[in-house]
């Protein structure tokens, strides 16, 4: 991991018509660390993730991800970011293996990588059934495989543990958890769990940074205040 911070936001804002989805946000995340983002729905969490993933262009301020300034050099960060959002980005009529093969070809990864990930998440049994027949938990596991298929240095996870049972969570922890050693931005509604895995905590409220401090200095009460 190069010494330069993985993410640097200075005065970043994003507008939706006349409403500000993100307003004047400045955050720096050193590489290898985890930023956990708290905040009620509509506070701008998903907007922040999509902005970091170069899917949304900033309407103000500077965004530097993995040393590349967006949106000018957005092609340079493509393929180096793993986004796990509510949409699984999988084609319902194709099987898990076909989906992952498709993503592997898009990211120029060998087919062996797909097989390795299927085994690590114990999906080989259901790998050839159409994705639409899989339960939500299995679907999330396939989505996790798709997220880290191209070994991205930066992970953007939107409530990764939603509808996952403890067994599945244990399975994907080494892949997208802290011990994966990647820089991670995780959105969460669970103050205790979120703070536990965070190096840096960011509280968003109406698109502004209501709370920004290292995880150690933030207590659960401050996080819950965001939701009131």
């Amino acid at each position: 991991m190069d010494a330069a911070p993985a993410i640097e936001l200075r005065g970043v804002s994003r507008r939706y018509g006349e409403r500000w989805a993100l307003r004047d946000l400045s955050v720096t995340v050193p590489s290898g660390q985890t930023l956990v983002v708290f905040g009620p729905n509509g506070a701008g969490k998903s907007t922040l993730l999509r902005l970091l993933a170069s899917l949304l262009r900033p309407h103000g301020g500077e965004v530097t991800v993995l040393g590349e300034s967006l949106p000018r050099r957005e092609w340079a960060v493509r393929g180096r970011i793993g986004l796990l959002a509510h949409d699984a980005l999988l084609y319902r009529d194709l099987s898990a293996r076909e989906n992952l093969r498709f993503h592997a070809r898009l990211h120029k990864q060998p087919a062996a990588r797909v097989e390795e990930l299927l085994e690590r998440t114990r999906l080989t049994g259901r790998a050839d059934d159409p994705v639409r027949t899989l339960s939500k938990g299995l679907l999330q596991r396939v989505a996790v495989c798709r997220t880290i298929l191209h070994d991205p240095p930066l992970l953007l996870l939107d409530e990764p543990r939603a509808n996952l049972d403890p067994a599945a969570t244990a399975l994907i922890e080494p892949l997208i958890g802290r011990e994966s050693g990647r820089t991670r931005v995780v959105t969460s509604h669970d103050p205790v769990g979120g703070l536990a895995e965070a190096d840096l905590a960011l509280g968003l409220r109406d698109g502004r940074a209501a709370l920004l401090a290292p995880a150690g200095e933030v207590d659960v009460v401050a996080v819950e205040a965001l939701y009131r």
């Binding site: 959002a85 699984a88 980005l89 999988l90 319902r92 060998p110 087919a111």
Partner: protein, 231 residues
């Protein structure tokens, strides 16, 4: 399972393979277009009150049917992307985004060819007066150019419409007027082919207009397609 490392296929082929696999796995566009075409021939029979058609009338019936069948296909083109939030999958990949446009245009071209393999013989049997055999060569050329126009304009209009609210209205509303020049040139080229006295090669100027149309709208669509995916 293939043992050797897959050659890094150009992104266009990767996307096209996926579209063809999707259509094979859950066929929805091609059968619908085929059935629609044949039903339309029956409607034309009763609508025009004629057992046989030839010359420019035959060209018109065939091409209008293909045009409207294509509208069905165009409407379904990006649905698989939109449904799964699939656009993000392509936008996140380190590929040139116009590969999506090229792959969708090629997919529609192949679907249209498949449909015409069934629809044209059906048309010949049901409605066409003169025998189609000697017209076959010319028909293949004209229909290839028409499929090109439908695929290029269709892919762009479909991408334009897919992320709006009234998407299946926008496609015919914008697509049909845009395709009028292509239809004019195509029907004027097909008319001599299906003429009563025997097929004669279409006038070169109409084929040129059709080719020019494909070229202009192909390049234009290729240039502006990226803007549709940005946010």
């Amino acid at each position: 399972m293939r043992s050797r490392e897959p050659r890094p296929m150009r992104p266009t082929w990767v996307l096209l393979r996926k579209d063809l696999l999707l259509e094979r796995r859950a066929p929805e566009s091609v059968p619908a277009m085929v059935l629609f075409s044949i039903t339309t021939f029956v409607l034309f029979h009763f609508g025009l009150g004629r057992d046989e058609v030839e010359g420019s009338l035959a060209a018109g019936v065939l091409l209008v049917t293909i045009l409207f069948a294509a509208i069905l296909g165009i409407n379904r083109l990006f649905v698989s992307e939109q449904a799964e939030g699939g656009f993000d999958a392509v936008l996140l990949a380190p590929i040139d985004r116009t590969a999506l446009f090229l792959s969708k245009a090629m997919a529609l071209f192949l679907f249209l060819t498949l449909v015409e393999l069934v629809a044209v013989p059906a048309f010949a049997i049901l409605l066409l007066g003169p025998s189609p055999w000697d017209a076959l060569g010319g028909l293949v050329v004209v229909l290839a150019l028409v499929n090109g126009a439908l695929a290029l304009v269709g892919a762009l209009v479909s991408a334009l419409a897919i992320r709006t609210r009234s998407r299946d209205l926008i496609v015919p509303m914008i697509g049909l007027p845009l395709l009028v020049p292509a239809l004019i040139a195509a029907s004027r080229s097909c008319a001599p082919l299906l003429a009563e006295g025997g097929a004669s090669w279409p006038a070169a100027k109409w084929l040129a207009v059709l080719a020019l149309y494909d070229l202009v709208f192909g390049l234009l669509a290729y240039a502006v397609f990226d803007f549709l995916l940005e946010d």
